[in-house]
Amino acid sequence: MADWFQDNGLLLGLALLDGLSSAGLIFLVAVGLNLVFGVLRIVNVAHGSLYAIGAYSAASIGLFAASLGVPAWASLPILLLSAALVGAIVGPLIERFLLRRIYAQEEVVQLLVTFALFMILEDVQKLVWGVQPIHHDQAMKLLGTIDVPFAGDFIPFTNYQLFVLPGIAVVTLVGLAWFLRRTLTGRVIVAVTTDREAATAMGIDASKIFLLTFTFGSMLAALGGALSSPTAALVPGIGAQTIVLSFAVVATAGLGQIEGAALTSLMMGLGRSIAVYFEPELEVVVPYIIMVLVLLVRPQGLFGVTETRRV
């Protein structure tokens, strides 16, 4: 084992750096999904569409701003603004006009409705943005690269992926934990998550909390998409790829658990990047191996709590 680390320790270090940025993006999307499920108790398949729309909108707004001569430094705030806009506009529309009608329905109906919405929004994306890849990498180029020493050589990393993505993920995690535990609105959300009936009986307007939470979850999905847009070419189907991994994170973390989502995202991000170095064939399945192993030991997820089934 010691010999292995001596031979591969440096490579492992590189894999850790790669894994951090990957984990950051996974976390942003998965934590929104987790939050929505925790409060609304709806498995929202259309969460992937919000990620995609966030990414496309950020690229479009960024390209438009660049064409107007907006300075390059504004490209990063534009990403955040785009995500907020998408979440604030699309989120309430979906919650008010669709989800509100199916809260009392069976889970399978809820799943079908959000899946249908996902399919509709996929076509909407193609109508609006076409099918050719779109990209706008001003934010990534703006921040440049940093050379990381490696075995007498150096490996260039982009500052955007090495610092911005993990940094925003950490800020989101800390901010979300503070919001949920230290503010009145956050505590109300936690109350509804813990026991919706009791919270409603105590006078909490669950309807308002649902709207607020879904909008916030939508913003997080759109933020994940917006932050991915400087590094990825956007094509039809990116939402589907994201939602599958997000579900794996949510199931592994435990439903409604933000710290669990952070830890699981980190495990999956690092697991995938380590696999690319040492066993590339396993890269695709590593997240699901982690999920299966965790659920075998803790069926309720890493941080989930066992619930008594109400009859």
């Binding site: 894994g19 996929e122 076509d123 099918v131 990825a232 039809p236 790829q241 170095y277």
Partner: protein, 434 residues
């Protein structure tokens, strides 16, 4: 009341039932009011980056043909079907197109998986089936099809030509890494490359084989590994958004300064990449239809096609557009040949299929011949990425044209067996500068 039949009546009815289809098929085919083509292509999912432009090219050419009086006087109508939902769905759609829509010919498909699943239906349905874009070598190497023909090249020449170009222009390479999409094309095209490379330049070491999940949007980890390994060559047959993402992430981190990219299907992504595509790397187009082709067979026809497409859709046509056009032109040539063979009469399905075998039809850049096994012979042009003032995106320079016959497995031989017989002498003898 009960009806009874005599033995003679029963025999006559049975005989009639058996003979009727044969009698009908022997009847001369009636000239249709319109010639319907069932076209399968990706209209959804990541591969719609190929499917939608190809549909546009088909619609544009059909409009042009119909404005000029149709094919042999019959107007053409395409009916498009999405490959996106998968092969099971597509098999059902092919049957529907033939049995319910009454199409006269099928154009299928982009995905090799679609072609492998649907080509056997051409025999069952006795309907001409033109494979217009899929590249798998297995179709015509593992089966014989009376109604199926491929109106373009295929994986073997499309991979072998860039390899020959690489070994001629950079003969000292010692290490190579691959990063391909994890599906049939990614795996098959690597097997072809590896087999040919072992025969043409034994001793080249493969330092990394990476097949990221199909649809990946981040290659940071793979790029870090390639930066650390410093292979002489990075080979990738990826396409669409994945190739664009890989090249942008790789160039941002200066991987292109440490290695030579060999990208056999880069042409379709160069417009999107724009100035992000680095110069000095090897690029292919799955054919010979580069926008800066220095000597097309019919320059006026080539410019007319490119300009008409640009005018209508505000972008340059990419290789799936040319492949779709080749299928349309092959169909036109075959129908006219079959009609002429019947002195103006309309051909049956079998007669139309027979007209395709050995057919040579012109394209704006060259001519394509359909061999006796149904495989089309399409020349390959490979070059080095560069910029010139005529295009806002990279185009090839130092181009070499590889005639299809030099880089295709002979009829009756499997590509993997044939590639093992190649010798290093082919590196110098194959192709010509243009």
């Amino acid at each position: 009341m009960t009806d009874t039949f005599s033995r003679r009546e029963v025999l006559a009815a049975g005989f009639g039932a058996v003979m009727l289809p044969a009698t009908l098929s022997a009847q001369p085919a009636a000239r249709p009011a319109e010639f319907k083509i069932g076209v399968t292509t990706f209209l959804s999912g990541p591969a719609s980056v190929f499917g939608v432009p190809s549909r546009r090219a088909c619609e544009m050419l059909v409009d042009q043909i119909n404005a000029a009086g149709g094919i042999a006087g019959v107007p053409v109508r395409p009916i498009f079907v999405d490959e996106g939902p998968g092969t099971d769905h597509l098999v059902g759609e092919i049957r529907r197109l033939v049995q319910s829509e009454g199409v006269h010919a099928l154009f299928q498909s982009i995905s090799s998986g679609s072609c492998l699943a649907c080509t056997p239906l051409s025999r069952e349905l006795s309907k001409v089936n033109l494979l217009w874009d899929c590249g798998t070598q297995r179709i015509f190497e593992e089966g014989r099809w009376d109604y199926a023909f491929r109106t373009q090249g295929y994986a073997t020449p499309e991979v072998l030509a860039p390899l020959l170009y690489l070994l001629r222009t950079k003969p000292d390479i010692r290490t190579v890494a691959v990063i391909n999409q994890d599906y049939a094309w990614g795996r098959d095209s690597w097997e072809i490359w590896k087999t040919a490379m072992d025969a043409l330049k034994p001793g080249v070491r493969v330092v990394a084989e990476m097949f990221p999940r199909f649809g990946s949007t981040d290659f940071s980890t793979e790029i870090t590994r390639l930066l650390a390994l410093r292979p002489d060559v990075v080979y990738s047959t990826s396409w669409g958004g994945e190739l664009v993402t890989f090249i942008r992430q790789a160039t941002e981190r200066r991987l292109h300064e440490r290695t030579t990219f060999v990208l056999p299907v880069a042409e379709a992504s160069l417009q999107i990449l724009g100035r992000s595509m680095p110069e000095g790397h090897i690029i292919g187009a799955r054919g010979d239809h580069w926008n800066n082709h220095p000597a097309p067979r019919d320059p006026a026809a080539f410019n007319a096609f490119v300009n008409a497409y640009r005018q209508r859709f505000n972008e340059y046509p990419i290789y799936p557009c040319h492949h779709m056009a080749q299928a349309v032109w092959a169909l036109k040539a075959a129908v006219e040949k079959a009609v002429a063979a019947k002195s103006g009469g309309w051909p049956s399905d079998a007669e139309l299929a027979a007209a395709f075998r050995g057919l040579t039809f012109p394209t704006p850049t060259s001519t394509i011949t359909l061999r006796e096994d149904g495989q089309g012979l399409e020349d390959q042009i490979v070059g080095t990425s560069s910029f010139n003032p005529n295009f806002p995106f990279a185009v090839p320079k130092d181009m070499r044209l590889y005639p299809a016959a030099q880089v295709s497995a002979p009829v009756g031989q499997k590509s993997t067996d044939w590639l093992k017989t190649l010798t290093p002498a082919l590196i110098q003898s194959a192709g010509q500068s243009i």
